[in-house]
Amino acid sequence: MTTLLHLDPRTVDTARALAAEAAEPVIRIAHAHTTVAVERATLRLAGITGADTTHRAGDVPWVNRVVDTVREHCGLEHGAALPVFDALRRHDLADLTELAEATAAGTIQYHVPEGRDATAAGKAARTAIARGLRSIDRAKARRDKLVATHGDPPQRPWIYLIVATGDIDEDVVQAANAARAGADVIAVIRSTGQSLLDYVPEGATHHGFAGTYATQENFRIMRAALDDVSRELGRYIRLTNYASGLCMPEIAVLGGLERLDMMLNDSMYGILFRDINPIRTFCDQRFSRQVHARAGIVINTGEDNYLTTADAVDAAHTVTVSQLLNERFAHEAGLPDELLGLGHAFEINPDLPDSFRLELAHALLARELFPDAPLKWMPPTKHMTGDVFRGYLLDGLFNLAGVLTGQSILLVGMMTEAVVTPWLSDRDLALANVKYILNAAGNLSEDFRPAPDGFIAKRAHQVLGEAVDLLARIRDQGLLDAIAKGTFGLMKRPPEGGKGSDGVIAKAENYLNPAADLLQTGATK
């Protein structure tokens, strides 16, 4: 896409350099710590599955039982891999499931092996974990193959649609219909509250609130259903779910194994909008993104959310700053630009003069700052009301802004946004809206030429300028401090506060996690 804004390359470089500096300290922290979720994810890679159905607290995944016990017995600062595989050898048990059962039965005593035991345990762990990563590699290869056979969507932006019935079986029906009606990407949103569970639920589920639980089985069911539809339609239908939350790393692993194609994964969303401990989140997002990189999963970041709690004009530059930080964290975790679904949204108060042109300015800025990223363009929500006619029109202009500014992924807006979770008919009408705009005005971008020093260009330059200033301040005061002060989405989150902080452990210097190495190096053995 030819540039329309003529951003000054030096300013852009400065912005990126500042983002890198601002992120650096946090990245160092992420390197220096592990979390219960990272360790559980590691053991899931190593092959632990299933849950302890006998537990009074309801199904508790075996990984949780094991990691909690390891932590009790010998702490996690050395990682879970050594104690677990050492125990496996000592008690010579067939597999990790048996180990888990024995753990539950209380017959296992974990400790950190030394010397030859350590080497042996390490080798065993690496072999097991590598096996896990190879199945992720196979899933990735399979995706590439299916895309090659069925093909990608014929048009950009890709049409991204949410289903949220709470019941995986209803979800399957609605997802299939949505795909037939033109959706290219299906996102199953999660039940409220799941992101604050410190374990991943098991099995097929039917009773979520305003969303469906993210479980390995639900992933499998939906992916299988979409594979059928893809075949039927001769178009590869992508599947999205959410990594963010207390189980980011584990869900990333499950998503990789079950061949999800995109996952919501933001370096700060959990902190800001779920009050999850910042350190916990920064550690978890890093590991989860390494897994996504391996799995070839496109991440979706959550800058849109800031504009629901802060004003979309005043806070426009915070979106840009967050995008640059998300980019930096992603690159550091090994994600290439093609996998960066950076988020932004059409959330300016529609009563504001020139609101549509302001949207265009912001959307173009993102487009030109991240030319190779599959940007995710999200619809109006905050200013949607019960006036569904007005809402349908707003969504139409949102769609138009999307095509005018060359967005990559378009999250379809619903006229009932302010009323209910989408109905079957809302989705159908919304798709008709998108299709009309794409078909009738899709090529209008050819005629959209903002004057070089006109309103749109000026606004874009202003936002970039404000972003650079803010990044400089963040670099100086520190990102954690900036978050604590409510820089993003007006949410104030101190580093020591938030849920799941007790799940963060400083690594001992002989900490071992074969997954980390295999992910870093890309090794398969």
């Binding site: 019960g386 569904v388 009323v419 209910v420 989408p422 008919s425």
Partner: protein, 254 residues
């Protein structure tokens, strides 16, 4: 499919519907309450007034979402099923030839002050509708299209002089039930003027309910999205069941 169904929002049986309307009531909580009451009376419960805004000083507009208690009894649904086969133009021509041994005469137009000819033209003109050619295209049909704003006496007169087998009338304007009144006036005039010997009377328009034929005093009513083929096929079906004079003379057994 189950005999009874309910509206479907995002789950089977949830009964969800969307409703909007205006009340001649100043905007405010009382108005919202009034809107809710109406929704409840319509069987929507719970009914959520999700939006309301004033229109001028004395009116308020509402959007309501909620679940209707009513069930739809599918077996009780009454529709005019097409009781005749859809024929190709060739088949239509063949049957007409066989049945009448002459062309079937069709006189059409918009009566009253209605000047919406696009609909009737879609049925009659060669150009046709929805990819189907209109009746003028049928070799065995003689079509006289009188166009717009034809008075009833004029129509009757032409029908008689042309020895019309069928009269096709279009009504598009429905304000104050103009379409109903005009059609009834028209059918009455034909009964009056020709009694038993009156031609087939067919009316159509986007707002007609096909179930209304009897009360309109016509033989058939066509609604939204009618195609010329349907009409031609109906005409053939009608003449093959209800006998029509091959000459102007008395009818022959079908």
């Amino acid at each position: 499919m189950s005999r009874n169904v309910r509206p479907y929002g995002d789950a089977t049986g949830d009964g969800m519907v969307q409703l909007s309307f205006t009340l001649p009531v100043p905007h405010g909580p009382r108005a919202d309450g009034a809107a809710q009451q109406l929704a409840n009376k319509m069987g929507i419960d719970p009914a959520l007034v999700v939006h309301s805004h004033p229109i001028g000083e004395n009116f308020s507009f509402f959007v309501v979402y909620g679940s209707v208690s009513h069930l739809v009894d599918l077996d009780a649904v009454r529709v005019v099923e097409r009781e005749y086969p859809l024929l190709t133009p060739a088949e239509v021509n063949g049957r007409v030839k066989k049945l009448l041994r002459r062309k079937l005469v069709v006189v059409g137009g918009c009566i009253g002050t209605d000047a919406h000819t696009v609909g009737i033209d879609a049925i009659l003109n060669i150009k046709g509708f929805a990819g189907q050619k209109g009746l003028e295209y049928y070799r065995e049909l003689k079509v006289i299209n009188l166009g717009a704003q034809v008075t009833v006496p004029e129509l009757v007169k032409r029908a008689r002089t042309e020895k019309a087998d069928a009269v096709l009338v279009s009504q598009v304007v429905t304000q104050r039930d103009a379409h109903i009144q005009n059609t009834q006036e028209m059918s009455a005039a034909f009964r009056e003027a020709m009694g038993e010997r009156r031609p087939m009377l067919v009316v159509g328009g986007p707002r007609f309910d096909p179930l209304m034929a009897e009360n309109l005093g016509v033989d058939r009513v066509f609604g939204r999205g009618t195609t010329p083929g349907e009409v031609a096929s109906y005409l053939v079906h009608a003449i093959s069941t209800a006998p029509v004079a091959p000459t102007a003379a008395k009818g022959v057994p079908a």
